[in-house]
């Protein structure tokens, strides 16, 4: 299988799905002529033309709202928000409209649409451009939320998202775009929603992570292996639907769990995961669940401070050692 970047994997998914289904259209700020601010939409305008690949004004709420209307009208729009921070300007259409329409209208209409949005911190973009808002979307019933960590998952999940008849919030990580991995060129290979993947098997501790945090968890596991600590890394892949079964089974086996989240700790998705672990694994837990989270602060610009705010590999190693500590 060829090795390609996360960026190119997403690009390939878009191309394959647009070739397969003429009702797939895409729009967003600078996606067409400029080929995307992160170049995920490179080559789309050339191949599919201005009718299907469109630049929009800087009007996020309308970028999403028009996608909702187009989906109601029989298309499969993929709307790009330049970064997830700008999804906050579109929260009205996302939360008040997109996630409500099917239910509120008694299941009479589907919204087969995707909102793609890159996010995450770590590039010294300061408070307004470094947010990890995954919990915001996971919190609202009525949409699926994908958080791919690897190029293969990025491609497979985006393809599933486009074919799904539910609205999907597809969260890409800005620091993963250049990461490489093996990706199938089989256009029918999909990655299912609601299925965690055990990215590394191990018997001592379960690390539950998603998106870039999975990559950090794998690096931590690699380090810990040198000390004969075998971590099992469970990658959530989608936050909604959330595959509780897979991480619960893993924790039942290891008896110990560390949850890693890039978002703010307070009400972060790690709290939800930890609760589910307590609900299902209370009897098999050998120590309390540890959470490694983003600090509860707006992101500072200065790289020295920024580093403190985002989980690092060492923090995960520290948490694993904590759950293994003899005091329990």
């Amino acid at each position: 299988m060829p090795e390609i970047t996360y960026r190119d994997a997403l690009n390939l998914a878009l191309k394959e799905e647009m070739r397969r289904d003429p009702s797939v259209v895409t729009w967003g700020e600078d996606v067409a002529f400029y080929e995307g601010s992160f170049k995920v939409t490179r080559g789309l305008l050339a191949e599919f033309g201005e009718g299907r690949v469109k630049d929009t004004p800087i009007s996020e709420n309308t970028i999403v709202g028009v996608a909702i209307g187009a989906a109601m009208g029989g298309l499969r729009p993929v709307a790009e928000l330049m970064t997830v921070n700008f999804a906050l300007l579109a929260m009205d259409q996302i939360i008040n409209h997109m996630t409500k329409i099917r239910y509120m209208f008694g299941g009479q209409v589907n919204l087969p649409m995707v909102i793609r949005a890159p996010g995450g911190g770590g590039s010294q973009l300061a408070a307004q451009h470094s947010q990890s808002l995954e919990t915001f979307f996971m919190h609202a019933p009525g949409m699926y939320v994908a958080v791919p960590a690897t190029p293969a998952d990025a491609k497979g999940l985006l393809k599933s998202a486009i074919r799904d008849n539910n609205p999907v919030m597809f969260l890409e990580h800005e620091l993963l775009y250049n990461s490489k991995g093996e990706v199938s060129d089989d256009p029918e290979l999909l990655v299912p929603f609601g299925k965690c993947e055990i990215k590394r098997p191990g018997k001592d501790v379960t690390i539950v992570a998603y998106s870039r945090m999975t990559i950090l968890a794998l690096a931590a596991a690699e380090e810990l292996a040198k000390e004969n600590i075998a971590c099992e890394v469970v990658d959530l892949r989608t936050l909604a639907p959330l595959d509780t079964e897979t991480f619960v089974q893993s924790v039942k086996k290891t008896g110990r769990a560390v949850v890693v989240e890039e978002c703010w700790r307070t009400c972060g998705l790690g709290a939800e995961i930890a609760t589910r672990i307590y609900d299902h694994c209370f009897d098999s837990l050998l120590s309390p669940v540890q959470r490694v989270s983003g600090l509860d602060v707006p992101m500072p610009y200065s790289r020295k401070l920024e580093k403190l705010c985002i989980p690092q590999v060492e923090d995960i190693i520290g948490a694993v050692k904590e759950v293994l500590s003899e005091k329990y």
Partner: protein
């Protein structure tokens, strides 16, 4: 253009304006270098080419009039009076920066200068400017809020809501669009149904005008008139300054969507040499004096870089400060 410079402002002010434009240019070009060296990180949006707008506008405003801008705001802050070395230190992420290294390039702020911030969410500044104007009117301070924004920002609801609100509540807001023809890679005609941005205020009966944003005196005069109008009528006004950024949208953007011919055309309209030429023609300054001004600006910027380099990083504990009072 027939009016002699001296008929508009005294020599001292004219020279100061030239000096400010040169300082801004030197500052921005130095930032580019520091970014390449890795001293400045994150997004860096430079102002080179647009200097006449910040300099002409600021000269026309009262010192306590509020100024708000977007993320391309180094020059706005410096012209308003922010020390270049503290701006540079902010860009380096150092503790001595204008915002203690917490804001960076896109988020400068100095309340002592009534410089009420650089905002990185396109259009985020519109309602805030309206609110500042409300407070100023409420407290009968006689000051106005000048809100700077790009051509890309006018398609946000905030722009339209802000215009309507300012007109409805009769608030002294001066909207200044720095139309540099592009929002990242999207040319203004491909994002705005009506690309003559000054015409877009008619739905709110907000008066507006368009001005050559490469001509510092034209900007000065247009803003002077508009600001006084806003102050007198307690109502909104919009000035659209036609300008151009010589560099890409940010340091990450090579700007390939613009033709070499277009860039050349606008560079021939560079406000710095053109204003310098006028100063010489009208015998306000000689070439040696202009050269000395440039030399001094270079020295100020070098000193700013040195200061930023030698400044300490913020303490780790600083990460938790300033969230709450």
């Amino acid at each position: 253009m027939d009016t002699k410079l001296r008929a508009i402002l005294p020599d001292h002010d004219l020279l100061k304006m030239y000096e400010q434009m040169v300082l801004c240019r030197e500052f921005e070009e130095s930032c580019a270098e520091q970014y390449t060296k890795g001293h400045i990180t994150g997004f860096l949006h430079l102002y080179s080419g647009q200097e006449a707008v910040a300099v002409g506008s600021t000269r026309a405003l009262h010192k306590d009039d509020y100024i708000l801008s977007a993320y391309r705001e180094h020059a706005q802050a410096i012209v308003r009076g922010a020390e270049p070395k503290r701006v540079m230190a902010e860009l380096f992420g150092k503790a001595t920066g204008l915002c203690k290294g917490k804001g960076g390039s896109m988020h400068l702020f100095d309340p002592d200068l009534s410089f009420m911030g650089g905002y990185a969410i396109v259009g985020g500044q519109f309602p805030i400017a309206v609110g500042l104007a409300f407070a100023a009117k409420f407290r009968q301070e006689g000051r106005i809020a000048a809100c700077f924004f790009g051509d890309g920002a006018v398609n946000q609801g905030n722009f339209h809501e802000g215009l309507n609100w300012a007109r409805l509540w009769e608030l002294p807001v001066l909207f200044v669009c720095e139309n540099n023809l592009y929002g990242i890679g999207t040319e203004v005609h491909r994002s705005s149904a009506l690309a003559d941005i000054h015409k877009r205020t008619c739905g709110y009966e907000v008066p507006s005008t368009q001005v050559d944003g490469m001509d510092v005196m034209a900007v000065y005069q247009a803003i002077k008139y508009a600001a006084e109008w806003v102050r007198e009528h307690n109502s909104a006004y919009l000035v659209e300054a036609m300008t151009y950024r010589f560099r890409g949208h940010s340091m990450a953007d090579p700007g390939k969507y613009r033709s070499a011919a277009e860039l050349e055309l606008w560079k021939s309209r560079d406000p710095l040499p053109n204003f310098g030429k006028r100063l010489i023609e009208e015998e306000i300054a000689g070439q040696t004096q202009l050269d000395a001004i440039r030399k001094e600006a270079v020295a100020v910027v070098q000193e700013a870089v040195r200061f930023a380099e030698e400044s300490p990083w913020p303490e780790d504990a600083e990460v938790y400060n300033d969230i709450y009072v």
